[in-house]
């Protein structure tokens, strides 16, 4: 051919008066050399074209050749965000249209119209934009091997987002399959800056497999490249990130605890310029709702230009907000992580972060949403919600300056994802176990998968594992001529409907009576509503009317509503990098550092802390012992995030009970944890470095309260992904009622009747890793048992310990038994303090009774009725006195 195959691309760039960045040409060259790799560059720098134009040049070249471009899928573009697939499709089609070549570009996601899907069933486009879930669905097609046989390149967009999740594991397995079907396929991942780029790249491109497969692949010329190391291309495009803060003015004072930060609403409203497009990020959906409401209360005139955006709001509404931002009609958006990624909001000029940044990478990602132009600085203004967050902001800034950003690690060997993948492969033309084992081990996360675990998963899908062997009705995957296939069309359908690893709670649609949908909300919240009750959702005050078939009907409400839904999900802990930085900043503060406005502002609180106790140094672990009417409190401050503290508190409480018989209550937040006993305990002597020893840590964590309950909660995801619980069924939701079994139930049943179940094991392991961040817990223990414990006896709670007192009142952790809890519930019921457990109206016999027109009678156990005499075993538990609510001490 002789000419430069990239010529067409260069011409196109020139026609748009663009200059190709160096990283773009590097990537094109590397692709042309047959390499795979990872492009690390900030959002908005043009990485899409870096990865895409290489393969496109190849396609254009081929289209110009005498034979023309053969039909069939050539390039797959995987994005984690279904919502942006349309925008990506348009961006990918642009050069094709302008260069006038006949290359088809389409997208296929859960939102794709059925007509387009039908056409794609017949013939796939040359370039396909899709999500990990839809990619997996492609693999379930019986002709997957032929359909995917011609794929040359797969582009994995926002790989840093997928990488550390089960969606990432799912993508890795799917990629291993695609590479098997098409050995010449190259993979290019696009990611934000990651400190562990090598692992991220390996996860994207996979690892070399066994030689038998290699030799088969060699004749197509793919093996040689694949066994090469991935190319990592870093662009020298980093945009400087400026972190500043909006500080309280005048008489406003930051509270010592809390996370809503509404006290700052006035300052924020004053700082905002309605002409400047602004994103206000919050940490939770309910916080977003509250802030949106608070801002509008201060500035009602912003009603037209302000909007709310979070994951539970209806997609149409979210799209309207996004379009409004682009067009400039909407200029202030209160959002959650739903706007962290995706669409380029070129016009956004200012970004605010309300509350703790939680992590450096997260703050940088959010800052990157501002002025989406390469090489211009991006700026994020933090709004502290309590006094100690001032220190977090400074710490985040320092950590970023040092380049200390959190790594993201792929999940090692998630067997639930593998189980699902097996059914996918069985559907997509079937598989031979030996071959699949070799193939799966070429996915980075599964490179150490043992044959025993593989066989266990295989047994799980074939006959349900050991516990089920005797049951002939159970068949998911069956053997046919040496291949594992799915025979039942019903099972095939159920599987296709449930592909994916995104698990959600049961949510209920919120809809105006006879009108449009507003979004989705957790069923438990709606279940607690009474008719006519007002609540805030999607920034509107709504009045609850009724609930029917998983739709909650509402009418517009007026005036004030005091109810804001709280969505499920654990609160994100601060990252390890950030907590390290916080300890350093505290040490600086104790040495009198006051070189930035946040620290100047934190000075009064720091002075109280120094007077009442000490400000811990970076390597110190401060332990404050305080005696109050409640008993003896030990406050321990490792600064390692709420999850680690929760785990550690449970372990330490357990270890304490071994040396000293007592009952402990515990509480944890991002800074430390509290252990309190009603007795006067000599914590000064009890809290020794040995108590934090790493020896038997896993066993103690497992034995301490909560692990098994947490595992049960975690099992929800495992059960859903592995197909133990069917989340959605084809056809109407109700028709599947008889198949419903919830994951908590399955957890109980499996732990009792199938104790060796590896999926239960996996849930436990995930709890240890994810909830207790086990490795981090271990590192923390190392630090605590080896470090300097600074035990200080304080006269009253200090600014550091006071938030923990509040936290415990909120009842987050306790070491009570179930019977204790039942007794407590009875007490609260008797004293009428706590609202009774509520549920849907329809399931209450009282509702049924009142339907007949007779209102429920007041509580009279009328002798005229044959009321039964009830005998039960009496539960004798002493009633506990409710502890007084903590008040801020007078320092």
């Amino acid at each position: 051919m002789g000419r430069d195959p990239l010529q067409a691309i260069r011409t196109w760039f020139a026609s748009r008066k663009w200059q190709a960045w160096e990283f773009q040409t590097q990537t094109w060259e590397a692709y042309r050399a047959g390499r795979s790799g990872l492009v690390q560059v900030a959002t908005g720098a043009g990485k899409t074209y870096a990865a895409y134009l290489g393969p496109l040049a190849e396609l254009i070249d081929e289209a110009a050749s005498p034979g023309g471009l053969s039909p069939g899928l050539k390039v797959i573009y995987v994005t984690p965000l279904r919502a942006v697939s349309r925008d990506i499709e348009l961006a990918l089609r642009e050069p094709v249209l302008e260069l006038g070549v006949s290359i088809t570009v389409e997208s296929r996601t859960g939102d794709t119209a059925s007509s387009v899907r039908a056409r794609q069933r017949e013939r796939l486009p040359h370039v396909l934009v899709t999500t990990p879930e839809s990619l997996t669905l492609l693999l379930t097609r019986a002709d997957a091997a032929t359909q995917l046989g011609g794929v040359r390149c797969v582009i994995l967009d926002e790989w840093h987002e997928l990488l550390a999740s089960k969606r990432g594991s799912q993508t890795e397995l799917a990629m291993a399959r695609v590479r098997r079907f098409s050995p010449q396929c190259r993979t290019w991942a696009l990611s934000a800056t990651l400190p562990n780029a090598q692992a991220a790249a390996m996860a994207a491109v996979g690892v070399g497999g066994d030689t038998a497969l290699e030799s088969k692949a060699t004749k197509r010329g793919g093996a040689a490249q694949r066994s090469q190391e991935p190319v990592i291309i870093r662009a020298d495009m980093e945009r400087p990130v400026i972190i500043d803060s909006i500080l309280p003015q005048g008489s406003t004072r930051l509270p010592l605890a809390g996370h809503l930060g509404l006290v700052m609403a006035g300052e924020v409203a004053a700082a905002l310029d309605p002409a400047v497009p602004t994103l206000i990020f919050t940490n939770t959906r309910s916080q977003a709702e509250r802030w949106f409401h608070a801002l509008l209360a201060i500035k009602p005139e912003w009603a037209e230009i302000a909007a709310l955006h979070h994951g539970s709001i209806d997609r149409d509404e979210r799209e309207r907000v996004e379009a409004g931002l682009k067009s400039g009609a909407i200029r202030i958006v209160v959002a959650t992580s739903s706007l962290d990624l995706g669409v380029d909001f070129a016009p956004v000029e200012r970004v605010l972060q309300v509350g703790s940044p939680k992590g450096i990478a997260r703050l940088v990602q959010r800052a990157g949403r501002s002025s989406h132009r390469p090489r211009t600085p991006c700026r994020i203004s933090c709004v502290p919600t309590h006094a100690l967050e001032l220190i977090e902001i400074v710490a985040a800034r320092d950590a970023l300056a040092r380049g200390d950003v959190e790594p993201r690690e792929p999940i090692p060997c998630p067997l639930d994802v593998l189980t699902q993948h097996m059914v996918t492969c069985a559907l997509g033309g079937g598989f031979v176990p030996d071959e699949l084992f070799a193939e799966v081990r070429r996915a980075w996360s599964f490179r150490e998968l043992s044959r025993a675990d593989f066989d266990w998963c295989l047994a799980q899908v074939r006959h349900g594992g050991e516990a089920l062997k005797a049951y002939p009705d159970y068949r998911r995957v069956e053997e046919e001529n040496g291949r594992m296939v799915v025979k039942s069309s019903r099972i095939a359908l159920i599987h296709k409907f449930n592909v994916g690893t995104i698990t959600g709670d049961t949510t209920v649609e919120i809809r105006y009576l006879g009108g449009r949908s507003l979004g989705r909300i957790e069923e438990t919240f709606v279940a607690g509503l009474n008719e006519g009750q007002r609540f805030v959702f999607a920034g509107k005050v709504l009045r609850f009317v009724m609930m029917q078939d998983l739709v909650a009907y509402v009418k517009p409400g007026y005036g004030q509503a005091h109810l804001t839904p709280i969505w499920g999900g654990t609160r994100l802990p601060i990252s390890e990098s950030l907590s390290r930085a916080i300890r350093q900043t505290l040490e600086d503060l104790s040495r009198g550092r006051a070189d930035c406005p946040e620290l100047v502002h934190a000075l009064p609180v720091a002075e109280i802390q120094a007077r009442e106790s000490v400000i811990p140094g970076a390597d110190d672990v401060l332990i404050e012992i305080t005696r109050t009417r409640e008993g003896t409190h030990a406050f321990v401050f490792p600064f390692e995030g709420r999850l680690v503290h929760g785990g550690l508190a449970a372990v330490v409480a357990l270890r304490l009970t071994r040396v000293h018989k007592a009952t402990f209550s515990i509480a944890a937040n991002d800074y430390g944890f509290e252990i309190v006993s009603a007795d006067d305990l000599p914590f000064e002597d009890l809290l020794t470095p040995g108590l934090f020893s790493k020896a038997k840590l896993a066993e103690d964590a497992a034995e301490s309260s909560g692990t098994s309950l947490l595992a049960k909660l975690q099992f929800r995801e495992v059960a859903r992904v592995s197909g133990l619980v069917i989340q959605s069924l084809p056809g109407r939701a109700r028709s599947g009622k008889q198949l419903q079994a919830n994951a908590a139930l399955m957890y109980d049943v499996l732990s009792e009747f199938d104790p060796g179940n590896l999926l239960i094991e996996q849930a436990r392991r995930e709890v240890m890793d994810k909830h207790f961040e086990q490795s981090r817990l271990g590192r923390t223990c190392d630090r605590l048992s080896g470090g300097r414990l600074r035990i200080v006896v304080t006269a009253r709670p200090t600014p550091l310990s006071f938030p923990l007192l509040i936290e415990r009142q909120a009842g987050r952790l306790s070491s009570e038994t179930i019977l204790d809890r039942v007794a407590k519930m009875r007490d609260s019921w008797v004293s009428g303090v706590v609202k009774a457990t509520r549920t849907q109206e329809a399931s209450s016999p009282w509702k049924a009774a009142s339907d007949s027109g007779s209102r429920p009678k007041p509580p009279v156990w009328d002798d005229a009725l044959p009321v039964p005499k009830i005998e039960v075993e009496p539960a004798q538990k002493p009633r506990r006195r409710r502890p007084p609510r903590p008040t801020i001490p007078r320092w």
Binding site: L468, R476, Q738, D748, V822, R826, P858, P868
Partner: protein
């Protein structure tokens, strides 16, 4: 009426053991859909029922509906398995039919269970599957159907316990099957709730 931790209640009249919502065949239904539930679940249910009969010295068993789960679960192996168990308990068993008992005749014949229709009135007490509006003012009713459960808050994680929910006019039994998830209950004034926790029945 004595409430038993086996998720059953003993009625003094004729020493009758009351149970509701056995949902036999749910495992088989799930297997058919490719969900690997261990089969031990219904073995445990039958063992627990046997246990309740022995402990209470019951002379009769009255099932308040939902003996079966779904027609797809009525496999021959399941029917035969239960029949073998039934043969070891020579006491009368009766069924008030519930909404799941659509094709119960065949199973009831195989298991020697008498069908009492949808409502059964005895000694001024009404037994029915679902607590509906037409229970009437003058009788006390016992039913199942709702799978009542209480949620315990205040601890680290919410916890659900199966329970007996006794309102001034209706007593609702917990679901006998452990392969059912409880629906939270709405407590009205004058209601009493007895939860099953750690092998005992405690008022909650």
């Amino acid at each position: 009426m004595t409430l038993l931790p086996q998720r059953a209640a003993l009625w003094g009249v004729g020493r009758t053991l009351l149970v509701a919502d056995l949902h036999l065949g749910k495992c088989e239904t799930l297997h058919g859909a490719g969900v690997p539930v261990p089969g031990g679940v219904h073995v445990e249910a039958l063992a627990r029922l046997g246990d309740a009969i022995r402990v209470s010295g019951a002379q009769r068993v009255l099932i308040l509906g939902d003996l079966l789960h779904a027609p797809a679960g009525n496999t021959k192996a399941m029917i035969d398995g239960v029949a073998a168990w039934r043969a070891t308990f020579p006491l009368p068993m009766q069924l008030v039919e519930g909404n799941h008992d659509r094709r119960v005749r065949e199973a009831a014949d195989a298991w020697n269970i008498d069908l009492l229709g949808a409502r059964h009135l005895e000694q001024g007490v009404l037994f029915t599957h679902a607590p509906t509006a037409d229970i009437g003012e003058s009788v006390y009713a016992w039913c199942g159907h709702l799978h009542p459960a209480i949620k315990l808050h205040g601890g680290r994680l919410p916890l659900k316990l199966a329970c007996f929910h006794l309102t001034p006019r209706v007593g609702v039994l917990p679901a006998f099957s452990r392969l059912t998830s409880g629906a939270g209950l709405r407590r009205g004034p004058g209601d009493r709730v007895f939860a099953i926790a750690e092998g005992c029945v405690v008022e909650a």
